[in-house]
Amino acid sequence: MKTDQEIQEDVQAELKWEPSVNDTNIGVAVNDGIVTVSGSVANYFEKWAAEKAVGRVKGVKGVAEELEVHLNGSDTHSDRDIVSASVNALGWYSTVPADQVHVQVENGVITLQGEVEWKYQKDAAESAVANLMGVKGVMNLLTIQKQPASAQVEESIKQAFARHAVLDAKQITLDMTDGEVILTGSVNSWGERQDAVDAAWAAPGVTSVKNHLLVNPFS
């Protein structure tokens, strides 16, 4: 079992290793395997990449990402420019139903609102705008349309876990009520935890996924 200090050293090494992240303004604290990263990064992509880099380190049980995006002076764009770039990007993105997505920008933070049919469309809308110049953050408030969730849905998610190359279906318990999925049990890494959530979201009728999976590399 790795100590918190060993995890801290590895997380720092991984952030230095990740080329898309400038680690000089990032602080790392670890408590019982839960890693908190704080400080500042230069754009929204870097924030995402830093969290991902931390999450893939062996022994990490959780990530609290508290990084703030501080744009360099020359990188700031007016909210109006960001709105028009966003609308253009959403309109060209093949898997986004653009007329269902409403965009607002305040101080470089984009808010997406509206209703889409599927989670992949919600994610696509976010990807379409997240890396535009001048973006400090994205609040993705798109909701997923309610669909009648049949009794087979729960079973179909379990089968998806069983087919997955990395997940161990035996260690994951799933509860579903009215389109809300609750995952409990354990996985072997922070990355697997995300894989489980993604798999659950693919099922028809799922409107939210509550992830209570614990990361336990020795289970």
Binding site: K2, D10, A13, E14, W17, E18, P19, S20, N43, Y44, F45, A49, R56, V57, K58, G59, V60, D75, A85, N88, A89, W92, Y93, S94, T95, W118, Y120, A124, S127, A128, N131, L132, M133, V135, S156, Q159, A160, A162, R163, H164, A165, V166, D168, N188, S189, W190, G191, D195, A202, A203, P204, P217, F218, S219
Partner: protein, 230 residues
């Protein structure tokens, strides 16, 4: 070990489970754990997703992607419009460096130019992959980096040791000039790709040759045991 016919069934169910896809249009063939996908899909996003989800099915050793994108008439765009949208997407993207060139022929986008890192090269591709009217993307961007003085292979091996998704005892790396060559046998395609991604992060590497083999027998169980030993 799954039989090929079990694996065929699992891939079919996985494609059917994916909301973006119409699995009835996709033909699956499996031989010794190698999955070949054929058929026609109506967008490049679907083309990409079929391959991506198939790779995550337990027991898959490799995927041969032979699906063709055939856009429905109403989704066809003219090449000049696609080229302009692609140029906008690249220019407006905070990760993609300047100087990437775009050529579009019959909806097929070719990217060329130079980046310093693989993540920028891949990001340029994903910035144009999902645009309306795109039939496919050829990424001719090359990585331009400088030789370094430090021991690159030791740094990559350390990255393998740090990462939860990689069993470092099963993979090794040698670096020749600026090419990293990966060897070993792992349990999943995901692990094989994690190792490749890690190698691409090394300063001074402009090519990665991934010769890691996937043996599904090593999946899950082997990984947990060897982690417990550390």
């Amino acid at each position: 070990m799954k039989t090929d016919s079990q694996l065929h069934q699992d891939v079919l169910e996985t494609l059917s489970f994916e909301p973006l896809l119409d699995a009835s249009k996709i033909a699956i063939a499996v031989k010794d754990g190698v999955v070949t996908l054929r058929g026609e899909v109506p967008s490049y996003a679907e083309f990409w997703t079929t391959e991506h989800v198939t790779k995550n099915v337990a027991g898959v050793r490799a995927v041969a992607q032979e699906i063709k994108v055939v856009l429905p008439k109403q989704h066809v765009r003219n090449d000049a419009d696609i080229a302009e949208a692609a140029a906008n997407a690249l220019q407006g993207d905070v990760i993609v460096p300047g100087g990437i060139k775009v050529k579009v022929t019959d909806g097929w986008v070719t990217l060329s130019g130079e980046t310093k890192w693989q993540y920028q090269r891949k990001h340029a591709e994903s910035a144009v992959r999902n645009l309306n009217g795109v039939q496919g993307v050829t990424n001719m961007i090359v990585i331009k980096t400088h030789p370094t003085t430090y021991d690159v292979s030791a740094k990559i091996q350390n990255a393998f040791y740090r990462q939860a998704g990689i069993d470092a005892s099963r993979v090794s790396v040698e670096v020749n000039d600026q090419t990293a060559i990966l060897h070993g046998t792992v349990g999943t395609l995901a692990e094989r790709e994690d190792a490749e991604d890690a190698a691409w992060m090394a300063d001074g590497v402009d090519t990665v040759r991934n010769e890691i083999v996937v043996d599904p027998e090593l999946a899950k169980v082997g990984m947990i045991e060897s982690q417990a030993g550390i």
